[in-house]
Amino acid sequence: MKRRTFLKGAGVALLLPRMESLGQVSKADSPRRLLTIVNHLSFYQPELIPQVEGAFRKTPPLLEEFSDHLDQLKIFSGLDNPAVQNGFGHTPCVGILSGYFNKLHRKNRLSIDQAVADLVGDETRFKSLVFQAGENLNFSQISWDKHGLPVKQIDSPRKIFNLLFQVDENEKTQQQALAEDRSILDAVLAQAKSMEKRLNATDRAKMDEYLNSVREVEKTVKRRAYWADRTKPRVDYEVEDFDRKSVDDYVGTLMDLAVLALETDSTRAVTVQIPFWEGFKEPDLSGNYHDLSHHGQKPEKIRKLLKLEHAILKRINASLSTMKERTVGNSSLFDQTTTILTASMGSANSHNFDDLPALVFDARMKTAGHWQKKDVPMSNLYLGLLQLFGGQHDRFGESTGSFEVLS
């Protein structure tokens, strides 16, 4: 597999203005950040999850990849996504971050990354950044806002980089358009409100979606108008030519960008998805990633699959190490960031939506180790995370309780 040098240099120009005009200036020197990583093809769990509960003694080979961070890691295994059953193939994966997915109940579909972004996302250029699983939207819409609407996911590393760091030459000329957009949004909002009064209940729900969309766009337009006047951070990083078909290479690039986005405080909530669709294969390995994940318990296929999984975890581990090296304000980026790595299926071989693993990295945790949580809702972990970020919620998705992540 192709190896690239990781994140050369640390020359990040941090000249970030506060968003005075939008209020809510944080007093804290070290804001909290969330990095969410989802692998849709899951992991070969026998080599990831320790056999016993409690502190790590013997670490399985896949987990060994995180040997530098074991003191700040809690693994939860056997988690369940109880409401996820309504679907086929990879469709239910879209509910992984919501801990709940039912097409009929959109309101309940808020995903954890967006719930956290609602709490920490006001001061940055982007409320959140969600990367798509490669350049293919198939079943990779996993980020849902509080209205149950899909959050725009960005599909290519180049676009992500440009969005974060490139000067948009049209930005200035777009200022006038932005001003006009605001008056148009006012007008269509007024019309939608008055139209809504004349509709029946079902149609009002539809019109609510429109109204909520307008309000969200208004906020975005306002935010964009504010940030359009302010220069983007400069970084000493190039999106190198990488092999678009290589999971390993792709993950490396996405993780680089995720770390940079957090480090430059462009956003405080980043969601990364591991590319998984048919096209992904390694030049020196016959069979593609998706195909290998359907290993049918054949040792040969599992061996190849593990090779890919090791490569992916190596990349994630490297990013965690980088986050420890980087200082932002008074502490390291790792100290300020909670990282969650999870999978939307228990096993991609059998396509089951229970027995889910979740790895949580947080510098503040007192005890590390493995917790078996057979059939406990994933939402309990999400609620625990949300409370960690100051959320006053007492329920999230299908939660029946809340995990203590930092204990």
Binding site: K103, L149, D186, A187, A192, V217
Partner: protein
């Protein structure tokens, strides 16, 4: 027609009797509760919840679950439940329970929620209102499709992303239909010196080359050939369209070494990344053609290219030996544009009929122009405010109109379809034109609607609309979504296995279903031709592919089948057979479920509680042994006993829809390290076919003719299924059991016309429900 219609609406007599005898309400609930307790809760209760269904819940809760009621009614009616192993309830009891459920379902008739314009409707509306022949489907996000058609309101999502797309598209349109000044028309000439093809791609060998005054496209896979143009002969900088407008292309080209003619695709995209091309037009180049002239609406920044695909894989380097296969030779191209035929344009005159309009007058005029519905008083203020602000800032009338147009095109007034509980005349005209033209009505239709003609006798307008070329949009859009034949080339065919299946043949396969629909509609033929017919719609390639007498040209014509031919009907079409297969294997499950979904209009979904946790079956030798596992599992067998026989009967047709007598099991041998995927060796194993299987009603189907006979015996259900598809498309919502009286009425009313497809369209529009939300 009116008389038959009336009799049709009447509920089947037996049902009326039972309903009258057992008035719904408390008594009915007790009956259902008792029936469930006796016959269902043993497996669907507190101890077991097979299929994750529990019927020991309070009856009120169960009755509120519309989907559950539909399922229970269907499984009881078709005798699928209780299972054979359990004691059978009396037939009368089952009939009574089904009727009670049906009554309950009718009461909970699904709402027809607010719908917005689909991408296609949006594009056509802009085309008809402003004469902008531009495909906006690239600017708007794809419409969410569930259970059938993109026209359904229920699954349509509105999101910030969607709203921004509307806003951007509206600005794009406004800036182009209301420009500040007249664009300048220019001409560009290109010859062989400016042409660049696809060279040295991954295949290592193949490629396009210059030959004297011609540039030759060889069309090798995996990358089709793409010809792009540069202004400067010495540079590869691709020619970029400078401004929005209509461009005329005059192309001198001819096909070489091809008796059957070829197709050129016109693509937009960057010549360096040929896989990202977007095909915008296909140009038929019949044998002997010397070129073509066409007009395209393009936007600034678009990059043109021509594509040609010969479906061949180069086996050797062209450097050693000249290319001998089919090729497309290009000599010259002239581009002229943006062309202005009239100034001010008709769109400018329509939007701004007077040079000075008061803000309110302007807003009212544009709102009316877009939807023929006035803006409510309180809705109008905000838009007038925008116009006033523009006027106050000293903007020109055109700029002011532009802002108002952007705002209105983004507003619910335009985006959403207005549907009152009883449709108004204007709303009725709009539903009709969105159905048959996929666009806004024209003045004649609005006038007819206002005169009250549409709900008195719609046949004159329907007849006029079906004769109008715009009805092609309905034919295209409906058949594309109903038959899904646009996906015919999503898989392969694997060129290593199906060496002689040209891409153009596959392209023709994708059009056959649509052309059959068109032929039946235009000639008032009966819907049974969808099941079986003594003719097929073919063009030159398809006629050759089916082994029929030669047909000239790319256009489709009806050809009578020889006596011994198995073709005829949708399930014998190569397009369907290929669509439901992967690149080198057939899939009986896809074929069977396609028939149930699209002909019977059944809701086939993978069961909620079943995980696909069987072992990988891709290695097994016959599909049959792998798939029959489904029927052994009780949870799968309910659907698979219906799906599998239909699909297996078609096993004598291979993945590209050709007759075969045995399976050719394909195995990929491990690649040599230095090789690419396209040089991997393939091994074939021959395995006999066993296609015979029994349908749930006991009838055996064993091949295509017996399958078609079985479908024909079931034609009432299939006609009703197809009518259900058409009605759901016209009304923009899913058709459920609650709509049975409606479907039955339409069915009865066309019985006299031998179930002609054209009569079906008339009957759907004439039915009272067409005038209701």
């Amino acid at each position: 027609m009116a008389r038959t219609l009336r009799t049709g609406i009447v509920f089947p007599g037996t049902m009326l009797l039972v309903v009258a005898f057992l008035s719904p309400g408390h008594g009915a609930e007790q009956k259902l509760e008792k029936f469930f307790a006796q016959h269902c809760v043993k497996c669907h209760g507190s101890k077991k919840q097979k299929g994750e269904v529990r019927l020991d819940q309070p009856i009120g809760e169960l009755l509120a679950d519309e989907d559950l009621l539909e399922t229970i009614a269907s499984v009881l009616e078709e005798g699928e439940m209780p299972p054979e192993s359990a004691p059978r309830p009396k037939a009368e009891t089952v009939a009574e329970v089904v009727n009670l459920l049906q009554e309950q379902i009718l009461e909970q008739r699904p709402a027809n929620p607010l719908k917005r314009l689909t991408r296609t409707e949006y594009t056509n509306t802009m085309r008809d209102l402003f004469g902008v022949d531009f495909d906006f489907t690239g600017l708007l996000p794809p419409d969410h499709v569930e259970q059938g058609f993109d026209k359904f309101g229920k699954p349509q999502l509105m999101s910030p992303h969607q709203l921004v797309a509307y806003l951007k598209t509206a600005r794009f349109i406004a800036e182009r239909v209301l420009p500040d000044s007249q664009p300048e028309t220019r001409t560009w000439d290109f010859d062989v010196r400016h042409f660049h093809g696809s060279k040295n791609f991954a295949t290592g060998g193949g490629g396009d080359y210059r030959d004297g005054d011609d540039y030759v496209l060889t069309g090798f896979r995996p990358y089709r050939s793409n010809l792009h143009f540069s202004i400067d002969p010495d540079s590869h900088e691709q020619f970029v369209i400078p401004a929005f407008g209509v461009y005329q292309l005059e192309v001198k080209a001819h096909s070489a070494k091809s008796k059957e003619g070829e197709i050129i695709g016109i693509n937009l995209g960057d010549g360096r990344h040929p896989t990202s091309f977007q095909n915008i037009r296909r140009i038929a180049m019949p044998h002997g053609s010397k070129g073509f002239t066409t007009e395209l609406t393009l936007k600034a920044g678009d990059m043109l290219a021509f594509t040609f695909d010969s479906a061949r894989v180069p086996g050797r380097s062209l450097a050693k030996k000249p290319h001998k296969g089919p090729a497309m030779r290009f000599s010259r191209m002239k581009v002229t544009g943006p062309m202005v035929k009239q100034w001010p344009t008709p769109a400018m005159k329509a939007i701004l009929p007077k040079s000075n309009m008061k803000p309110q007058e302007l807003v009212d005029h544009i709102a009316w122009l877009l939807t023929r519905r006035p803006l409510a008083e309180e809705d109008r203020r905000a838009f007038t405010g925008i116009a006033q602000a523009r006027v106050d800032s000293g903007a020109s009338m055109t700029a002011t109109a532009r802002s108002v147009l952007i705002a209105l095109l983004t507003s619910p007034h335009f985006i959403y379809k207005s549907e009152s509980p009883e449709l108004t005349d204007v709303e009725r005209a709009q539903r009709l034109s969105l159905f048959l033209w996929n666009s806004a009505p024209d003045s004649e239709l609005y006038d007819a609607a206002r005169a009250g003609d549409l709900h008195k006798d719609s046949s004159v307008q329907v007849e006029r609309m079906l004769k109008d070329p715009r009805s092609s949009r309905f034919i295209d859009d409906f058949t594309r979504q109903w038959l899904q034949l646009d996906k015919v080339d999503d898989f392969g065919p694997d060129v290593r296995v199906f060496k002689n299946v040209r891409r153009m043949t596959v392209d023709s396969m994708g059009r056959e279903g649509r052309e059959l629909f068109r032929h039946l509609l235009e000639n008032g033929l009966g819907m049974e031709h969808f099941i079986d017919s003594d003719f097929v719609m073919v063009n030159d390639r398809l006629a050759r592919f089916y082994g029929l007498a030669a047909v000239p040209g790319d256009g489709f014509v009806p050809v009578k089948l020889p006596k011994n031919s198995e073709r005829g009907g949708l399930v014998a079409q190569a397009g369907f057979l290929k669509l439901t297969s992967t690149d080198f294997a057939t899939s009986p499950i896809h074929r069977g479920s396609w028939i149930l979904k699209n002909l019977y209009n059944e809701r086939i979904e993978p069961p909620a509680d079943v995980l696909i946790n069987e072992p990988d079956i891709r290695g097994t030798t016959t599909v049959r042994e792998a798939i029959l596992k489904h029927q052994q599992l009780e949870s799968c067998s309910r659907c698979h006993s219906k799906i599998d026989p239909l699909g297996f009967a078609l096993e004598y047709y291979d993945p590209v829809g050709r007759k075969r007598n045995e399976y050719r099991h394909v195995e990929e041998l491990p690649a040599k390290l230095e090789g690419t995927t396209f040089t991997k060796k393939i091994k074939f194993t021959r395995v006999p076919i066993d296609a015979a299987m029994k349908l749930p009603n006991g009838r055996e189907v064993r091949d295509l003719p017996t399958l078609k006979a079985a479908l024909m015996a079931d034609k009432e259900r299939i006609f009703k299924g197809i009518l259900g598809k058409l009605i759901s498309y016209a009304h923009g919502r899913e058709i459920t059991r609650a709509d049975r009286p409606h479907v039955d009425a339409v069915y009865e009313s066309i019985a006299q016309q031998e179930f002609s497809l054209r009569a079906a369209i008339h009957a759907i529009v004439a039915h009272p429900a067409f005038g209701q939300k």
